[in-house]
């Protein structure tokens, strides 16, 4: 077959199942692609060549025995380095876990393996998923395949860059404030944050437990849906896992029709701070939805303007508690254990050496927001904003089936531009954060290139809790119409590396 790395996940699975190629050939083609381009991109922190080929051989053996293969059997995947993988390093982009080999698989990892998905390796990310550019990784930044001097988004920049550079047709991300959707937007790929509780967090190294959600990343809407169905579903090992059937996302992606749907444009996500080319492409996407038969109305969600400040109190507060487990006693780095320092001093020295600046900032910010005397004014108020945002969504979804907005206010910015300006960096998640606070589902997919810089723009689709299928129904219709208009998928316009 011609270039196996250019196939979609659905095409790859079909080619493996029908015997046009083998899972081993597919894995080898992707490993060769990684060898050829990842020195430039730096999407991977660890490539598990042997594990990938072993998993691929198992799929080929199953097929040879005539066993039925799952819908993604033999398809390679890039796994964000925030999910534990038994026997394979898991760093979370941090020096504090450098060299740590987890003794167990995350539920998501286990589900991928059981489905015959071939895990190629672990992808780069902002340390502990804190960031919007992957520059906060302790192992160096990742380049955006559209322009290697620009950020691939974050925190899941390794996953989005792996997709956009054809190193894998599927990837996994986690979305706490936009870490799946924003990287998808700036790399011209598809990313979905499922409803909170849809995908198990067991074995997901915690950042902010009430916000963290694993989800699928892909180059097409259908591929994301196929991956969504593999990873979602109830898990008794995660007490916040939803015990209900997974919405029929693959069926919705295959349907791809918006006729008669009511779609709301979020009024608050426009104007100052939004790049003109982003707004232009977004307006064109809205016009396209009208042409496809949707009824489009403007919806105001006034409390969304307070989502960013609320998020930067809630997420750091939870992080300050979650990251207390990195105490240098049971796993990970230990510094200063030379018989002159107490256990407490060793903990403080280790955390100072092992955490990067953004993690330290957020731990201290969270500690501040939760401290007596400030709790009511900060964490308490942020929790009330969270209620208002949830109410705004409820009112909106009384009137419309889905909401749409740009995924990010700007296209990919240059590496280094916002690195030491936390507030500027935080603005990248302006449009994505409300869905994390309320827990509902959202997707980003490409809607064109900004005229001023030729870089990808993301369209965000937002659906109610447990109505994830609507994302795929709308996303698939938009994708088909844009692909027909452009004459090819957007990614084909990316420069070859």
């Amino acid at each position: 077959m011609s270039d196996l790395t250019r196939l979609t996940a659905a095409e790859t699975a079909e080619a493996v199942a029908s015997g046009k190629t083998s899972a081993v050939e597919v894995a080898e083609a992707h490993l060769a692609r990684i060898d050829a381009v990842d020195e430039k991109v730096h999407a991977f922190l660890h490539v598990d060549r042997e594990g990938a080929l072993t998993a691929a051989r198992a799929v080929d053996d199953k097929r040879a025995k005539g066993e039925t293969l799952g819908p993604l059997a033999g398809v390679p995947l890039a796994l964000k380095d925030v999910f534990t993988t038994r026997g394979i390093p898991t760093t979370v982009g941090s020096k504090i876990l450098e060299g740590w080999i987890p003794p167990y698989d995350a539920t998501l990892t286990r589900r991928l393996k059981e489905a015959g998905v071939v895990i190629l390796g672990k992808t780069n990310m902002d340390e502990f998923a804190m960031g919007s550019s992957t520059e906060n990784s302790a192992y160096g930044p990742t380049g955006n395949p559209w322009d290697l001097t620009r950020i691939p988004g974050g925190s899941g920049g390794g996953s989005s860059a792996a997709l956009a550079s054809y190193q894998a047709p599927l990837a996994i991300g986690t979305d706490t404030g936009g870490s799946i959707r924003q990287p998808a937007a700036v790399t011209g790929t598809v990313g979905v944050k499922p409803t909170y509780g849809a995908v198990s967090r067991y074995g997901l190294v915690a950042f902010s437990s009430s916000l963290d959600q694993g989800g699928p990343c892909a180059r097409t809407v259908l591929d994301a849906a196929l991956l969504h169905e593999v990873i979602a579903g109830h898990d008794a090992l995660d007490s916040t896992s939803i015990d209900a059937p997974v919405p029929a996302v693959v069926e919705a992606a295959k349907l791809g029709n918006v006729k008669g749907m009511r779609i709301g444009v979020v009024k608050e996500f426009s104007g100052e701070g939004y790049q003109p080319g982003v707004e232009q492409r977004f307006r064109e996407a809205v016009e396209l939805l009208r042409e496809l038969g949707a009824e489009v109305v403007e919806i105001s969600c006034p409390s969304f303007t307070y989502a960013l400040p609320a998020y930067y109190l809630i997420a750091p507060s939870e992080a300050s508690s979650n990251l207390a487990r990195f105490d240098a006693m049971r796993y990970g780095l230990r510094v200063g254990d030379d018989a002159t320092h107490s256990a407490e001093e060793v903990t403080a020295l280790t955390r100072a050496a092992g955490f990067g600046p953004e993690v330290k900032r957020r731990i201290m910010l969270g500690t501040y927001a939760l401290s007596s005397g400030y709790y009511d004014a900060y964490y308490g108020q942020a929790q009330k904003v969270r209620t208002l945002i949830t109410q705004d969504f409820a009112r909106a979804f009384d009137q419309v089936d889905v909401l749409v907005s740009p995924t990010t206010p700007t296209t990919a910015f240059p590496i280094g531009e916002r690195a030491d300006d936390p507030m500027a960096m935080y603005l990248a998640d302006l449009c994505t954060i409300p869905s994390n606070l309320a827990g509902n589902a959202a997707m980003s997919l490409p809607c064109g290139l900004a005229p001023e810089d030729g870089l990808p723009v993301g369209l965000q689709i937002i659906a109610p809790t447990m109505a994830d299928d609507r994302l795929y129904r709308v996303g698939s219709a938009v994708e088909a119409a844009f692909t027909a208009r452009w004459g090819h998928p957007l990614l084909e316009e990316a420069p070859s590396l």
């Binding site: 009430s210 007490s239 930067y312 403080a348 900060y378």
Partner: protein
């Protein structure tokens, strides 16, 4: 809302078990001051009659039967430990000499 002082940041670092250098404290104090100034906006809207939301799902006390199940062996559980001895995590001195 008043800004945050360098002394307060030093106190936060101690509470957070982060042994920071002086120049780090200076830098973080400046940045945290700007961040806290921005996030203080949450005080503008939320009123007394709004209940707080701590979690997106209405879940309380998810229980499971307390049954013995297979789990990690001591060797596996200790495999990532910085130091271990006699099937236990070995830690630096916690209490003083006396």
């Amino acid at each position: 809302m008043p800004g945050i002082t360098r002394e307060e940041v030093a106190h936060l670092a101690r509470l957070s078990r982060l042994e920071l250098k002086d120049e780090e404290l200076d830098h973080f104090a400046e940045q945290l001051d700007a961040i806290i100034d921005a996030v203080a906006r949450v005080g503008e809207i939320a009123a007394d009659d709004i209940p707080p939301t701590s979690h997106p799902l209405p879940l309380t006390n998810v229980m499971r039967p307390d049954e013995v199940r297979p789990s990690l062996t001591p060797q596996e559980a200790l495999a990532g430990a910085p130091a271990s001895e006699e099937q236990r995590f070995k830690v630096p001195q916690i209490l003083g000499e006396d």
